[in-house]
Amino acid sequence: MTGSSLTVEGVSKRFGGLLAVNKVSLRAEAGKILSVIGPNGAGKTTFFNLLTGIYEPDEGQVLFGNRNITGKKSDSIASLGIGRTFQNIRLFSGMTVLENVLVGHHNRIRTNYASAIFRWGGFGKEERRAEARAHELLRYLQLDERADDLAANLSYGDQRRLEIARALALEPTLLLLDEPAAGMNPQETEDLKHTILALKADLGLTIVLIEHDMAMVMTLSDRITVLEYGSVIADGLPEEVKANPRVIEAYLGKGGANA
């Protein structure tokens, strides 16, 4: 598996009178980690929703690899190989941990309806293959011993990791992570960092990350794009962004640059 690049060109989204995302352009190189940061309400999550087809952009286009995915439905975008997690965890809480991952694997399971009803024609074999794959992903995220528990019964940190496992089950080439470390304790955050780096190293995934934990963003990112009020105010390598006065101002307000 190798990552696909993501190119966004002048994408905007308006809600009533509010311009939530304003002509945003950015590029995530294949196999690299791009972080999108910005103060609360900067339009980061809306931006993710535009990429994944939950909202349709009012203007601009989104290219996944060389393919134009602007305005496609969210399920077809996912099937093309874009996996995502949600800021406000959206697991299938009444299903088990294993089932959650299997749902992520939906389109990779080659079973037709008749063979599912009657359990014939290689149904069992395909099901066992999918389960083996799901367990593999759960082991990768240290969740395998919880496989048969209900997702709702997991701790916060475990739920965040399960969302990643579920997104990986899509076998994506691009992974969008929306604040994966929110609500995690320092140890869990540390583990998560290693996991994300491993995803990049082992699978060659392209990763776009929204995160508030600056230490994490600085260590992980190959490149950073900063949003404020829906617009890109800075873009560059971590050191460049860190030193950018507009970014410092956006985060700390005027006069807070010495912090």
């Binding site: 939950i54 399920d75 077809s76 959206r90 009444g94 299903m95 299997l102 359990r119």
Partner: protein, 465 residues
């Protein structure tokens, strides 16, 4: 209740159970039906609330089955003892740590010996068993739609009607009203028509579902409600210009499937026979086979990518879409599957009753089936069957029985709490108030126990002890 279970020693629980069973035997021997019924229900309660060791529980259930069957065979206790048999089945389903073959054996004894023996003694019980079966099958179909996929289908009886009329028209002389040269089909075609009804209702489901399922869930409820009404209006009015449905009078003289082979088998086995019980036994067994099949389909689907996708949509539509699950296609699949079950059961219903009319397929019928799924537990196979049994019995037996009691009181001039019952208006007739009962059940369940009597079981949690 579980907090108190520990407070009662195991031996005491067992002793109470044994005592109750012995008492029940005694009452039966004396012919005291009401007392025997009370003892049976008390035993079921004790077994459910203060369970003894699973092995003893199984043994107690076996004895209870035997006693209830004997009582029913000698016409003591009647319908109420029949309900005790249903209770045995429910407890059996929830019995842990006992070899499966023992459970299957006792379950088979109840279904294949207990109920038929009761049916021979009292043919109404056969009818009740068949109706419970037909409604269970339909409720299991609706369970796919409502329980698994979380889609609210308020016009489920429409598909039942389409199935029933398909066979009613071609399996009776009705067809000659518009195809004069056509000969009514013989009974063997019932099975073919079940297949045709599956196709016809699945296609209708897709046609109706396609516009509604693209939008938010609420729209489906209203569209299906409308469909239910449209099908009823069509059934009522398509007696002109072409007489397809014979209008409000309905269609009579619908062919039943031939059972010569079955009758020969009964004769060879030396089972007592009569023209009516032959058919009842046949349909009863046929319905059992069909339910077995539908349960299998339910369970298989639940453990496949399709079932998981349905539950995922029910839990969180946006997350499900982000997992690449095609929303409309997946919902349509559930909707059409549910419709197909209903259509097939419609054919069977028409063949078994020999008569269909628009009255059977009202909104109340759709609500009844929905009530079964909600009461039992959305998504739970044993729950849904229990819901179907409970509401069918309530509807066909208890409410009607209550009406009869009131009528008797009216005629005998009984005075109840100072009120002369003869003054009670004739509109006050419990059998006509199913909607009230179902409505109360729906509201109370949604407020206090939305997961149903026997909730859907997922994960490794051990329920009940």
């Amino acid at each position: 209740m579980n907090r108190f279970v520990g407070a009662v020693p195991a031996t005491a629980r067992l002793a109470v159970t044994v005592l109750l069973l012995a008492a029940m035997g005694g009452f039966l021997a004396l012919g005291w039906g009401a007392a025997a019924v009370l003892a049976a229900y008390a035993t079921l309660f004790v077994l459910a609330a203060f369970p003894p060791d699973p092995r003893w529980k199984l043994a107690a259930l076996a004895v209870l089955t035997l006693e209830a069957t004997l009582g029913l065979a000698s016409k003591i206790g009647g319908d109420l003892l029949f309900i005790a048999l249903v209770g045995v089945l429910v407890l059996l389903l929830r019995l842990p740590k006992v070899a499966v073959w023992l459970k299957v054996l006792l379950g088979a004894a109840v279904l294949l010996l207990g109920i038929p023996i009761a049916g021979f003694a009292n043919t109404f019980l056969f009818e009740l068993g068949i109706q419970i079966g037909i409604y269970s099958a339909m409720a299991l179909g609706l369970n796919v739609v409502v329980g698994m996929a979380g889609l609210l289908d308020m016009g489920y009886a429409a598909f039942f009607a389409i199935g029933a009329y398909t066979w009613a028209i071609f399996g009776s002389s009705q067809v000659q009203h518009f195809l004069t040269t056509w000969v009514p089909l013989n009974g063997n075609f019932v099975y073919l028509f079940m297949g045709l009804a599956i196709l016809a209702t699945a296609a209708t489901g897709i046609l109706i579902g396609l516009p509604a399922l693209r939008l938010r869930g609420d729209y489906l409820a209203i569209v299906t409600l409308g469909l239910g009404e449209v099908v009823r209006i069509l059934a009522n009015n398509l007696d002109h210009p072409l007489n397809l449905t014979n209008g409000p009078q309905g269609i009579t003289g619908i062919t039943k499937p031939p059972i010569e082979g079955f009758q020969a088998l009964l004769a060879a086995l030396g089972i007592p026979r009569s023209a009516s019980t032959d058919y009842q036994l046949f349909f009863y067994l046929l319905v059992l086979v069909i339910i077995g099949f539908i349960v299998l389909v339910n369970v298989n689907l639940a453990r496949s990518k399709f079932g998981r996708a349905w539950v995922a949509i029910r839990e969180d539509e946006i997350a499900a879409k982000a997992m690449g699950i095609p929303m409309v296609k997946t919902k349509l699949l559930a909707f059409a599957t549910g419709a197909a079950f209903s259509g097939a059961m419609g054919v069977l219903f028409a063949a078994q009753r020999g008569f269909v009319s628009p009255e059977t397929f009202t909104l109340t019928a759709s609500i009844t089936i929905l009530g079964m799924v909600v009461l039992g537990g959305m998504g739970s196979v044993p729950g849904v069957i229990l819901g179907a049994a409970a509401l069918t019995i309530l509807n066909l037996d208890l409410l009607k029985g209550f009406s009869e009691v009131l009528n008797t009181m009216r005629q005998d001039g009984t005075v109840l709490l100072g009120f002369p019952m003869s003054q009670l208006p004739s509109q006050v007739d419990p059998a006509k108030y199913e909607r009230l009962v179902f409505g109360i059940i729906l509201i109370l369940m949604m407020i206090f126990r939305p997961e149903g009597l026997i909730p859907e079981r997922r994960g490794s949690r051990e329920e009940e002890a």
